[in-house]
Symmetry: D2
Subunit: 183 residues, 4 copies
């Protein structure tokens, strides 16, 4: 049962596991007699992240998919498509950045309290090698999770013939915001 | 008439206008009796930039177009499309970044010598407001043009009902490289 | 007369001028019958910024001074000193960055409500030319001021024989926080 | 015996170990009958890095020292000093950035060929926690080493009572340039 708590904030907490509360934000909290266990929370979070990702039409447009998801970690994969290339036939830096941005955002969301959405504040990308190959993977992890801001790092790799090669790296700042969709 | 100069480098220069040479790179130079005038050079550059942009399949995929181009400055526009959105129906940060990245790259290319391509080394984006509106424009300008590296800045705006609002800003490092397509 | 308002927030507002409130933060507000005029506010802000800057011991260590301050804009100057150099005798990139960081922070503080301090969340610096000359100036301006975050841009210049040359540029994210010193 | 090789470039190479050559740059090479072994090279590099660091007057000013150095990795330490603080008595973000910048530069230099100097092109810093404690350490590592550009990452930690806490992280682009000091 979910209720809006006026003037309140995301504040699911439990002694079993620590969650960054998005204090300051008019989120809602789960009001229930029993706090969720860590396992229940992670399960619920996985559902929330995947549901939000499925609403990112742009991820469908470029063909990106979540291939693994843990607490604070995510992996997104993308097969090569000619429609995603730049002038030399490599995947456009903006596509790789989009994957890494979504990966950082959902890594952050995976450690947020329930009913909080995430917003990219800023990111920095270094492009290390041409995005030329069969498929591409972005792996993001939470580096530091604060009340309002979450700093994530992501690496992107090209996969060719079973080998992986680092092609880009991102350092991103994500902000906790109240979920706009779950009113 | 274009000839490959073995071991040489882009070194079109003219007293009428200064161009950053991509020394150190095995580009080719125009070998002709008369140096091009600034007007001829800018005209040629415009053609080169537009031709390269037209080979960026990803810009077609997202519906981005060059709307203006000067020496060191470019404007790229993109209409709203549902296929480009994130979880809340706004344009994905990666799409806005892609426009700004292409804009920075081509602003850089517009001041490069002939037969040099450009490569994004890195960029940093601050997302300032939701990308929610009818269309979007990215304006990039060269901030400093060096022999090997060109630093560009870009701003992105949403256009809604004739009004513009700043939604993102980029600071990017671009590298001069020999053109791979014009062998 | 200043009073702590429990659970409240910086919320000095006036119809005459708009100020970004640091909502969400346990700042205090001025409780007075009459709201300050814009002129009074700017005067007060100037005092607050200069007082805070004077507490930055590191600015004294490197010899940096505020040379001008407006609403959302600041200029900090630094004379050359041999103790600030890197291996080639130029001013260390970290010194120029320190000036620009302080400049961005105080540009942000100048548009904040009273009794809010600022915190650098992150910044990105492009170094454009060697910091070699008589003196150095950093000019920062607020690019976008939000409730929690303020994005600022700064440029740094070398001054030599009366001429200025751009040597570095910063894009920074600053966060509003309650003032820790004025309890 | 060191000789200038006209039009040449840093190109110490050996089958035993791979070194990124700073092609394109008018560096000089060691001309000797026998190529150095990896051990000799690393020893020589350590000497070069430490000698260059000792010429960074600013590192002395802030009290920073190299505490460990490997191929592609470095650690720099700094004790707390009141002269390095910002308005709240924490170490100024610019000081922590200076340490991380020098650390990234020397991590890059440690994998460069002989007689190449390094230049910071750009860096991005996320500040994760207040720099409040007894001493501070920056650890940098080469993330990708290219011919012209080297991308490094650094983390900074506060050390307090034997415990370490992450306070900042940097992603930096370094450029190989010919050594100006060893003419």
């Amino acid at each position: 049962m979910i209720q809006r708590v006026s003037g309140g904030c995301c504040n699911i907490r439990s002694r079993q596991f620590s969650i960054t509360p998005c204090l300051y934000l008019r989120c809602r909290r789960l009001v229930s007699e029993a706090k969720p266990t860590r396992k229940e929370f992670v399960k619920q979070k996985e559902k929330t992240v995947k549901e939000s990702f499925s609403r990112q039409a742009f991820m469908r447009t470029i063909g990106a998919e979540i291939v693994s998801l843990e607490h604070g970690k995510i992996e997104i994969r993308l097969p090569f498509q000619p429609g995603l290339t730049q002038q030399n036939g490599f995947i456009h830096a903006g596509v790789i950045t989009s994957m890494m941005d979504s990966a950082c955002g959902y890594a952050a969301m995976s450690v947020n309290p329930e009913n909080c959405d995430v917003l990219s504040v800023e990111f920095k990308v270094n492009l290390l090698a041409p995005a030329k190959g069969e498929s591409f993977v972005a792996r993001a992890a939470v580096k530091r999770s604060g009340r309002t801001l979450i700093v994530c790092a992501a690496d992107a790799f090209v996969i060719q013939g079973g080998d992986e090669k680092l092609i880009a790296t991102m350092l991103a700042t994500i902000m906790n915001i109240p979920d706009r969709s779950s009113t």
